[in-house]
């Protein structure tokens, strides 16, 4: 009897653990992360990476050797997203993919299994906390998806990239950007790029500074 009670208690704990939604922060061949094909959005020296997928090889060859991270943000609404998971590394063999992470969603706010939640993937320079703040810095790379919906599972870590017609689990739309140098059918869905000031911007800033100096001297 005692053993039965212990087993039942353990089962309840397990059920409680399983009740919290689980999600696989992973990608597939049609949701790859790629460097923008617009070389004006890449730093000097990185133009050859345009259209290539992000993985250890391409990231390690970036000018200035920045590191990039992939984060999963989740919320119970599209406007209440918070970071819930970070990929530990990038694939060493497959362009566009980070190492998948089994993610148990937080209990506050609650993400019960079976209830649709809101998600976003953000990729950014590791010196920034998110994609938006990375883009505020000149030359820092970042990219993000639109906010999409997915349903956390009770026991299995279903991937956010699972958009199978047989079991529509996520609304994350497949990408359309063919990844340079990879077989047909490998599509990028997350464009990663940097904020690169145009030469005209520098000229305008210089002109403004010069005007200021002249104005002060005359005064």
């Amino acid at each position: 009897m005692k053993k039965l009670l212990i087993t039942m208690a353990a089962t309840l704990v397990c059920v409680g653990a399983f009740a919290q939604g689980k999600i696989g922060f992973a990608t597939d061949g049609i949701h790859l992360a790629y460097f923008s094909t617009d070389t004006a959005k890449l730093n000097t020296g990185d133009s050859a990476l345009g259209g290539r997928g992000l993985y250890t090889v391409t990231i390690s060859s970036l000018a200035g050797a920045p590191s990039l991270v992939a984060d999963l943000w989740a919320g119970t609404s599209a406007t209440t997203l918070a970071k819930v998971s970070s990929a530990p590394s990038w694939s060493a063999v497959a362009e566009g993919r980070w190492t998948g992470v089994n993610t148990i969603l937080p209990s506050t706010p609650a993400f019960p299994a079976g209830t649709v939640a809101f998600f976003q993937v953000q990729i950014h320079d590791s010196r920034a906390v998110d994609a938006a703040s990375a883009w505020l810095q000149n030359g820092w790379y970042a990219g993000q998806t639109t906010v999409f919906q997915a349903t956390p599972g009770p026991t299995a870590y279903s991937s956010i990239a699972n958009v199978s017609t047989a079991a529509p689990f996520s609304t994350w739309g497949p990408g359309t950007q063919q990844i340079t140098g990879m077989a047909a059918g490998n599509f990028g869905a997350i464009e990663v790029f940097a904020t690169i000031p145009e030469p005209g911007t520098f000229a305008l800033a210089g002109l403004g500074l010069a005007s200021l100096l002249i104005f002060r001297r005359r005064k």
Binding site: K3, L4, T7, A10, V13, C14, A17, G24, A26, D28, G29, S91, A92, V93, A94, R97, T99, G100, V101, N102, I104, A113, G114, T151, G153, P154, T155, A156, Y157, S158, S159, A161, N162, S164, T165, A166, A167, P168, F169, M182, A183, G185, N186
Partner: protein, 215 residues
Amino acid sequence: MAQNVYSLNVVGYVNVTLPANAFSLVANPLDASSGGTIVGGNDITNLFKGMADSSTIQTWDPAGFGGLGDFSASTTYIGGIGWDAQLQMPPGKGVLLYNAGPALSVTFVGNVVQGPYTVATLNSGSFAMVGSPVPMSGSVTNSTSQLGLVPADSDTIQKWDPAGFGGFGDWTAADTFIAGPNVWDPGTLTIGPGEGFFYYRSGATTTWQSNFTVQ
């Protein structure tokens, strides 16, 4: 003059250790229904005897939890009596087994499955709990490609880690199949004989058919 008669059957056994008071993902690596041990063949009532009271077995139900997939209701071992229900567990079928007692070694005995054999149907966009239908071990390739499973791009394999999630058990990180180079990434998982695994089919629905021959 009497002629020699040779049997093509290969009979073997596999020992699998079930950790104490923990869940394990187990798959039957031998066919006990022909040339096997005892009446009952591949039923759990034959495969798992002498279990601790309140041990349980669950299968994977892809349609469970509103289509997200979930474990089935438990079949329970009643001490001194046995399993409270029958459950066929042919070679390659994986089950989640909770051993409610001290660590236990289970011995599978039976024929090595040879020739064409349907292991499982792998439905697109769905998980399946399966295992090698023969006693193979090593990298996931040994348990899949070398046994007739044709992976599609972004198919994944996960194992059950009894020590995961604070000792309650949890799935490991996945190995993902990358088409083109045709490799499992990162390719760190190894699967032992009798060990089940969790297969996610990203490609089109397919039938896993093995065609193994003992050399």
